[in-house]
Symmetry: C2
Subunit: 176 residues, 2 copies
């Protein structure tokens, strides 16, 4: 399954760290890229591109101005729309149906998500029905839908990579 992310309601000051975490989780867990709506944020985009520059791959980060139209377009192109929300149906109950999608757009909100997103979604999915974190919800969703790819993922054009250690840090520089 190809997965892309749409982060709604990004506020440059308040959300910059959490939105960056969302993007890096998307990249490290196997999504193709992340769109975000709300404040355009060069710093956010630069952070993600800097990670690509060192650690490889071509995970994209792109601002969208009109997210309603964007979602409509994706639907027309045949993408399944999955909205992660604590009010939705627990993932284990819908995972098999979601797994049949070839391409899915996963929507995560910053704060309150408009009702029309719940209506536009093919699946409103809960990673548990308690309040916690869209970063965690995204991680668990990708872990389940992409077969725990975070433990095996590799990226082309990486300049550095970690050599796992029992203690301390070891990073290897790669010749490109």
């Amino acid at each position: 399954m190809i997965i892309e992310i749409l982060r709604l309601g990004h506020r440059k000051e308040r959300d910059k760290r959490v939105t960056t975490h969302c993007a890096l989780v998307g990249r490290a867990f196997g999504a193709r890229g992340m769109y975000y709506a709300g404040d355009p944020d060069d710093g956010l985009e630069r952070s993600v591109e800097k990670v690509n520059g060192s650690w490889g791959g071509d995970f994209f980060i792109k601002h969208v101005s009109e997210w309603r139209r964007f979602i409509d377009e994706k639907k027309k192109q045949g993408w399944g729309i999955v909205h992660l929300t604590m009010y939705g149906i627990p993932l284990p109950e819908v995972q098999a149906r979601i797994a049949r999608l070839e391409r899915s757009l996963v929507i995560i909100g910053a704060e309150k998500v408009p009702g029309e997103v719940y209506r536009a979604a093919d699946f409103n999915v809960a990673i548990g029905n308690q309040p916690h974190s869209e970063v965690a919800a995204l991680a668990i969703f990708l872990d389940r839908m992409l077969g725990s790819m975070e433990f095996n993922i590799t990226f082309s054009n990486a300049r550095i990579r970690v050599i796992p250690q029992e203690r301390g840090k070891r990073v290897e520089a790669l010749d490109l």
Copy 2:
């Protein structure tokens, strides 16, 4: 297994949202509570207590002033020390050994974690060896070690609970 969390290096302004996410993930995924070092932060503590007040349970959040001594004390009391870091050994390779611990303290850092934490830890564990998010790392760790408890957890003394919906939100008020 009983799991408690230690969040290192909390900076009140910069980290307040991410540290709150860590605590809420700890609560929603079955940890007992979270200690944090760095700036004392009443707002952080109030946010977590407010969630307990509505959604139930007694997940604790406590500031520790001297985290080095605190880790030493925990070790003396027989707690296993697990440090989540992208430089560590991938969880699948050490999960069975960690599962034998009765009580573990899971350490997550805000930014750069001092070398002594790597040395003090019984396990330096990676949720993948790519840069991403301590919120996501904590979520995956708890999901794996506590049997995906996030999908079944219930809390005593909850005032409200979600009734999962395919579309929209439904919250039920509970009589205490």
